[in-house]
Symmetry: C2
Subunit: 205 residues, 2 copies
């Protein structure tokens, strides 16, 4: 078994790194150079036709792409500590918040990044500044929903640290390259961000 | 317990309808009028601050938004028939294909729809025709990945019908309003689409 990551700090590989660190799982790593567009090669497409990282390769050679699919594989193999929930209501709430953080917060940040950052010119077929601008206020809107939730709970999906915290942490840290800050009045997000950033997993390489 | 749907045929509520039909689960339904923008109201925002449908309201009043979170709730409550997989590798493959069908195929179709269809003028703050055009070829690219997979397997994530088939079916049917057809050479997609469309769940209301 091995896992294929980038060498830099792309958000999706980082999600899996943090997840594995929280589980205490170590597996062999192979690096691919995103900057050299190695993930766009035909050889890589055989592993993941969507040409994205990370990819987990199982012992029988089966490639598993999509960060959350990789995380779920390890949750099934090693259930503790549970990061996707234990009972139906908690499982549903964690999935809901994981998806909100990914599809609303992280996706909005990625849309801003891909369609405005000079480094992404080689990656995106067309950069559309107007699409970047539509997404910019959505980042703060999603953060406001997160702030309200963190005013009621210690962690993103409730009282337990979960995969939803991992996605939210990676998203908030990925606001830096697009120069969006957490508004100072969102004290719950700031309190939570300080706490989850001190976990050793936040620095997983 | 109740579930809140639209009255029309939006893709996400349809995913949950098909899922519940496959499980043989019936629960009380409340309808909201998407055309009248009822989901944009403050009352609805209290249930789902993202202002999207569907929403499941549990007996204790907890709202669960996000279609796949709702599906996972019912999978946890009633595991059979299993639609998210049974063992680690199958769980990971179903999650991977569910996400590919949602994040690459369905999302590309939705981007075309939202940014080109006259009916979406009232829903989207800004329609960006260029963003619609960037997404149009991505629909066919994602279908090609699906076609290759369905050349090797009966269903989207392998030999068993799963939630990945539900998302893919809803996506392919949602190509109609944006006037994109399955290319006739994609015979595996056409064979699979004919088969899953004959399941009673495909017509779930």
């Amino acid at each position: 078994m091995k896992i294929i990551y980038d060498k830099a700090r792309a958000p999706n590989p980082r999600r899996v790194r943090i997840f594995l660190a929280e589980k205490g799982i170590e597996i062999p790593v192979e690096h691919i150079d995103l900057g050299a567009l190695e993930h766009k090669s035909e050889a890589f497409a055989a592993l993941n036709p969507m040409r994205r990282l990370p990819v987990l390769v199982l012992d029988d050679g089966t490639p598993i792409a999509e960060s959350i699919a990789i995380c779920r594989y390890f949750e099934a193999v090693q259930p503790e500590p549970a990061l996707f929930g234990r009972h139906p209501k908690q499982i549903a709430l964690i999935e809901m918040w994981q998806r909100r953080m990914e599809l609303h917060l992280l996706a909005a940040i990625q849309n801003v990044f891909r369609h405005s950052h000079p480094a992404m010119k080689a990656m995106e077929p067309v950069q559309i500044p107007e699409w970047s601008e539509v997404n910019r206020p959505r980042v703060t809107e999603a953060l406001a929903v997160l702030d309200a939730q963190l005013g009621r709970h210690r962690f993103v999906a409730g009282d337990d640290y979960s995969v939803a915290d991992i996605t939210a942490l990676v998203a908030v840290d990925f606001m830096k390259p697009v120069k969006i800050g957490v508004p100072p009045e969102m004290t719950n997000v700031l309190r939570w961000h300080a706490e989850v950033s001190t976990r050793p997993s936040a620095k997983a390489q």
